[in-house]
């Protein structure tokens, strides 16, 4: 298996879906069954590869980049095909391949208009490559490519299969279809951010000596303070713009509610579960270790923005009438916790960030699945019209309640660790950071958990509980079908497992995080 450990394993994980895209294009549109199986096959293959890596991973030295390879890619600009995973990227990569498979399974009999499974599955697989690739890339340019690779498919997914209801934007005369507005908004926002991110990468490249895009080498350079002073300040600002848009951090978040709401179910799931993580991962993998000094300067600002996001997102949720939009806004709050954790620059914080990302991935992914299926049944997402779902579809409602509990950070379920440890980290951030800011942030964040509980419980009350309104009594609303359960049960299990035995994630991250903090901040 040495070939597998020397880059092939990772490359397969990343590029098998891309091969799948190629295969799909060759299959005529009419062969839907074949198309589905091929897509699922490649998704599973990629997932299997990542699981195999998981088992071969050397947890004892999780700070080292494993299974890596470093081949020349674009000599003209000194950029290499350098890949590898450490304890931080491993959980994220597995998560991405995992969610991809579930997305394909779920799609099996849920096709948003206009049908066209061929194109839809091709886009999912393309996304899969981009997502997994971002987590394994160890070269800034390679990272950039994968980071951007997710844009096009998601743009088409939202724009073509998205929500067709008309909205009027404040200050505009004409009404526009949600999907059109949301897709281009998502696209422009992200591209705007990443354009500056690219400039930041170049600035890093030219400041490093010898010039390099190699992340590992740059970690060393960063720990030796190569990028200090105002120069680094601007670089950090540029990277911040790129990552913060993706996370998204307040106030750059407004693309998110629109995109999540407009996207087809699977699109929302992938957006929430993986795409948002790319930004936060960028902070952990690039900003912090390469620009530690600036990270310390910026940390309080990030913490403040993060808690604003927590409270702001939760309050916004309280006013939502659209179930899907509520879940979308909840992501703002939850990613706020992740960013708060990151901004503490402590081991506890970064561990919290990673487990928080994984937890948010499985939990919010599941929430979007269910919201999608319910909209599929009821043909509305207005919570005012729903209600009594518990009576109409007990299983689905049960899973929804369970997931909501997980989402509000119930101990014993996945959501708790990220939230609690974010607060824990905020209580004593990296030495030298303003205690006042962070402890205030901790208290505000803790209050945020109350609001979170509030809107989730109110959502449950509106959607699940009470007597079903008579408009549904006649309809045949079948409960979760077998494809839905096939997609959801694994997530439920994951939520429970991570909640009861968080070492599933910590076991991978602790070493890597400790090393990162030590080299970057000497703490």
């Amino acid at each position: 298996m040495s070939w597998f450990d020397q880059g092939w394993g990772l490359s397969l994980t990343v590029f098998l879906p891309l091969v799948g895209v190629g295969m799909l294009l060759l299959i005529p549109k009419s062969q839907e069954r074949l198309i589905k199986f091929v897509a699922l096959g490649f998704g599973l293959a990629s997932f299997a590869a990542s699981i195999l890596l998981l088992f071969r991973f050397e947890f004892g030295s999780s700070e080292a980049f494993q299974f890596g390879t470093d081949l020349t890619w674009i000599p003209a600009i000194g950029s290499n095909y350098h890949i590898g995973i450490d304890g931080i990227s491993l959980p994220m990569m597995v998560l991405s391949t995992f969610i991809t498979v579930l997305a394909i399974v779920y799609s099996w009999n849920h096709w948003p208009d206009p049908h066209n499974p061929k194109a839809f599955l091709a886009l999912i697989l393309l996304l899969a490559t981009g997502m997994a690739g971002t987590f394994v890339a160890l070269d800034l340019i390679l990272f950039f490519i994968f980071f951007e690779l997710v844009l096009l498919p998601m743009y088409f997914m939202i724009g073509v299969w998205g929500d067709r209801t008309m909205i009027r934007l404040p200050g505009f005369k004409r009404e526009v279809e949600t999907r059109l507005y949301a897709s281009i908004k998502f696209f422009l926002f992200t591209l705007f951010g990443s354009a500056f991110m690219l400039l930041g990468f170049l600035a890093i490249y030219f400041k490093s000596d010898p010039h390099t895009f190699d992340i590992v080498a740059l970690h060393q350079a960063g720990s030796m303070g190569v990028f200090d002073g105002t120069y680094g300040m601007w670089v950090f600002a540029a990277l911040f713009l790129g990552f913060a848009v993706k996370v998204p951090m307040w106030p750059l978040h407004t693309w998110l509610p629109d995109a999540h709401t407009a996207a087809p179910t699977v699109g929302s799931v992938l957006l929430a579960a993986i795409l948002l993580k790319l930004g936060a991962y960028g902070f952990i993998r690039i900003s912090l270790p390469i620009l530690p000094e600036q990270a310390q300067t910026w940390a309080p600002a990030i913490a403040i923005l993060a808690v604003i996001a927590i409270v702001y997102g939760s309050l916004a949720c309280l006013a939502q009438t659209d179930m899907k939009r509520l879940i979308a806004f909840s992501s703002v709050g939850h990613m706020g916790f992740v960013m708060l954790a990151i901004s503490t620059l402590t081991e506890a914080g970064l561990n919290a960030a990673v487990i928080g990302m994984v937890a948010h991935g499985v939990i919010t992914g599941l929430l979007f699945f269910i919201a999608g299926s319910m909209a599929h049944r009821y043909h509305t997402r207005e919570m005012a019209r729903l209600g009594g779902n518990q009576t109409l579809m007990p299983i689905m409602a049960g899973i929804l309640a369970f997931t909501a509990m997980a989402s509000l950070g119930l101990p014993g379920l996945a959501g708790f660790w990220g939230e609690f440890m974010a607060l824990l980290g905020a209580f004593n951030p990296l030495a030298g950071l303003s205690l006042g800011v962070f402890r205030t942030a901790m208290v505000v964040g803790a209050v945020g958990t109350v609001l979170t509980a509030g809107y989730l419980l109110w959502m449950l009350q509106k959607v699940n509980l009470g007597e079903p309104s008579e408009e549904w009594l006649g309809k045949d609303l079948h409960d979760a079908d077998r494809f839905e359960l096939a997609a959801w049960v694994p997530l439920v299990v994951a939520i429970l497992a991570i909640g009861i035995w968080p070492k599933i994630v910590f076991g991978a991250t602790e070493g890597a995080v400790a090393n990162l903090i030590k080299t970057a901040f000497g703490g």
């Binding site: 006013a319 958990t449 035995w501 076991g507 703490g523």
Partner: protein, 695 residues
């Protein structure tokens, strides 16, 4: 001696640490080592019920009953063992390392279990009372829409509660703490077709969640400053007067206590408990009277060395004692005007929790927990009996009852026993525990407790009167006079009455395990902790206070009898003049709910949330869209004026450059090609001129 979980932990690369102070050894040792089964069995039962419950002959009840029975037996076994030889054993299994603290080493997450007097006492309460309630519930919930789901949630609660009390570290304690919260949410909202119940459930959850902010902060402070979440490590730090901890101990202690106030429904967090009566009566009995609501008191007891005099956060004691005092009196008063029998008991519970809290505040570790112990039995009993009544008359309101002693004798007798015990009449359990609290309060008053202790002592005595009074009222309105309801009330089935008698027996005798100065095994149990509990416990029986307490209670009964024995029919109106000044205040429960709803929750859910969304849609997105609009406008402008027409301007420039007269320029502005040409040339000229000027 490694256990299964231990093996798993080792397999996971964690460590399995055992901390034994007094090793019971032998079979008892084995019991202690496998005590982790106590919470795990009910939790497994929960999953089993959810998965297969519906298919079982008794629809899952047997699993729940089996689990709680197991717990009861295990607990009693431990109790006896501990009676023989006091033990204190802790097991810790490392989950994972989550970070390191400079100077303090690694910060780890652990699961674990502590088997000492305190936890054993709690196992016993949960197990034994739980066993009776589960049995009773089979009859009470017979034919309910969600019979199976009910027992799933119920054993989830049992499991959560036991996770809480068995927790050797604060994180695990939080886990149990939140689990019982969820179970409570599920069970209060058990009949969720009616949105009032859901509202009550949410109210309970949110109120607790708010208090939990305090708990979280407190736990985090302790964990970070001590460098470990183990309760024993924290208490060690207290014992060795760790300076770092001393600096923050007050806030940590306060935080923990705020959490406790939430769970134990101390003012001003008490609002959720009366509403929680929306749940089925067995739930009210086990969770909202016997066990869950006492978790706060338990927490203070578990962390007692932190609060005790000479401990680091003993300033918090004043707050604790005052909170307890306020709660025990004010909520007791509200009980006077309730018509719903469960509400009466609910407010009585609040008031009794006030006693416990006050005792803790008085530094009376044993007294507080002793009252917790006895209260569990008689209040559990009272609720079950009330449930039996409700089951019989299909109404919660005492105005629909009356004269039931003829129809349901055992219910009547057991309810009477419970009431007398609660009123604190010799020799029933309530007498002993309440008397001890009074004694400890006076003791504290004379040992530096100061004015607060004295005040609360007075309140407590007053409370004794009120307690007796409203219980008498309840008894008369329910069981005496003429039956005012409709239909034919009937005694409940055996499956319900037997538990009543069982609890009645315990309620009667439970007090004898702690007769001050005579026979006090209970004190020894609670003393068998890894850390010595300083506890200025009144030495002998305080005759004076005992007499006063009894006298006051009797006075209450007398007053109740005099007011309520004859005309129970129209009591609602008469309450008005019987409690002249207070009545409106009591009727509106001191306006707490209105304050919270209209003052806090309303605004946040309404205007504030809407404002936030407005900022999102209009302000922030406004900026975003404005950029788009600006780009479009700019493009229109550039295309229309610069690219297409504005070239005229260029021509003028050329003309100026070539020294031409304006007239010619007019003509020059006609043909487009020539405009292009002009622009070309103008560009050239501008560049040259500009360059010559600027370089």
């Amino acid at each position: 001696m490694t256990t299964l979980l231990g093996l798993l932990a080792l397999a996971e690369g964690g460590e399995h640490a055992v901390e034994v102070v007094t090793d019971p050894g032998g079979f008892v040792g084995v019991l202690a080592d496998f005590a982790w089964l106590i919470p795990v069995v009910p939790l497994l039962a929960t999953f089993a019920i959810v998965l297969v419950g519906k298919r079982l002959p008794l629809k899952g009840w047997e699993l729940a009953e089996g689990a709680i029975g197991f717990v009861a037996i295990y607990a009693v076994a431990l109790l006896i063992a501990n009676w023989v030889t006091p033990m204190a054993v802790e097991h810790h299994i490392e989950i994972s390392r989550i970070g390191s603290l400079p100077g303090l080493g690694d910060l780890v997450l652990e699961w674990g279990w502590v088997v000492d007097g305190l936890s054993i006492m709690m196992f016993t309460v949960v197990g034994v009372v739980g066993f009776f309630v589960f049995t009773y519930a089979k009859g009470y919930m017979e034919g309910d829409v969600r019979f199976t789901f009910f027992f799933a949630s119920f054993s989830l609660f049992a499991g959560g509660m036991l996770v809480l009390v068995i927790a050797p570290n604060l994180i695990q304690l939080i886990v149990g703490w939140e689990l019982v919260g969820v179970a409570s949410y599920l069970l209060i909202g058990h009949w969720w077709e009616d949105h009032d119940n859901n509202a009550a459930a949410i109210k309970a959850f949110i109120t607790n969640k708010i208090a939990d902010v305090g708990l979280f902060v407190g736990v985090i402070i302790l964990g970070i400053t001590v460098g470990s979440f183990r309760i024993t490590d924290v208490l060690d730090a207290v014992a060795r007067h760790d300076s770092a901890l001393a600096a923050v101990a007050f806030w940590a202690g306060l935080g923990l206590f705020i959490g406790a106030m939430g769970k134990s429904a101390q003012m001003p967090f008490h609002v959720w408990l009366p509403d929680a009566m929306a749940g089925p009566t067995p739930v009210s009995s086990l969770m909202h009277a016997a066990t869950m609501v006492t978790a706060g008191v338990y927490l203070v007891g578990r962390m007692f060395p932190l609060y005790q005099t000479g401990g680091m956060a003993d300033d918090v004691k004043t707050i604790i004692i005052l909170a307890g005092g306020a709660t025990l009196l004010l909520t007791g008063l509200i009980a006077l005007v309730q018509d719903d029998i469960k509400k009466v008991l609910a407010y009585s519970t609040l008031s009794q929790l006030g006693y416990m809290t006050a005792a803790m505040g008085a530094g009376a570790y044993t007294a507080g927990l002793f009252h917790l112990f006895t209260h569990a039995f008689f209040k559990g009993l009272l609720f079950l009996a009330a449930g039996s009544v409700i089951h019989g008359v299909h109404s919660n309101n005492m105005s629909d009852m009356g004269g039931l002693r003829r129809f349901m004798p055992s219910t009547y007798k057991t309810f009477l026993i419970g009431s007398v015990a609660l009123a604190g009449i010799f020799p029933l359990s309530g007498f002993w525990s309440k008397d001890e609290i009074l004694a400890s309060l006076s003791n504290d008053a004379s040992h530096g407790g100061g004015a607060a202790a004295t005040l609360v002592l007075v309140l407590a005595i007053l409370g004794a009167f009120i307690t007796a009074f409203y219980m008498t009222r309840a008894v008369y309105l329910t069981f005496f006079g003429e039956y005012r309801g409709d239909g034919h009330p009937h005694e409940s089935p055996r499956v319900m009455t037997y538990p009543l008698w069982g609890l009645a027996a315990l309620a009667a005798v439970a007090g004898f395990v702690n007769i001050p100065g005579v026979y006090t095994p209970f004190t020894e149990w609670l003393a068998s902790r890894i850390h010595v509990m300083g506890d200025h416990h009144a030495g002998g029986l305080n005759w004076a206070l005992a007499l006063i307490g009894t006298a006051v209670a009797l006075a209450g009964i007398a007053a109740g009898t005099r007011l309520f024995r004859r005309d129970a029919a129209t009591q609602a109106e008469r309450d008005r003049f019987r409690i002249p000044v207070l009545y409106p205040l009591l009727e509106h429960k001191y306006y707490f709910d209105d304050l919270y709803l209209n003052g806090i929750v309303g605004p946040i859910k309404g205007p504030i949330a809407r404002f936030v969304v407005w900022t999102n849609q209009v302000v922030i997105d406004g900026v975003v869209n404005a950029f788009g609009a600006a780009a479009r406008f700019a493009s229109g402008y550039v295309y229309g004026w610069v690219d297409q027409r504005g070239i005229d301007l260029a021509i003028n420039v050329v003309a100026a450059g070539a020294g031409e007269a304006g007239g010619v320029v007019r003509k020059a502005q006609t043909g487009k090609v020539q405009q292009y040409a002009g622009a070309l040339f103008a560009g050239a000229v501008l560049l040259v001129v500009g360059f010559l000027i600027f370089s």
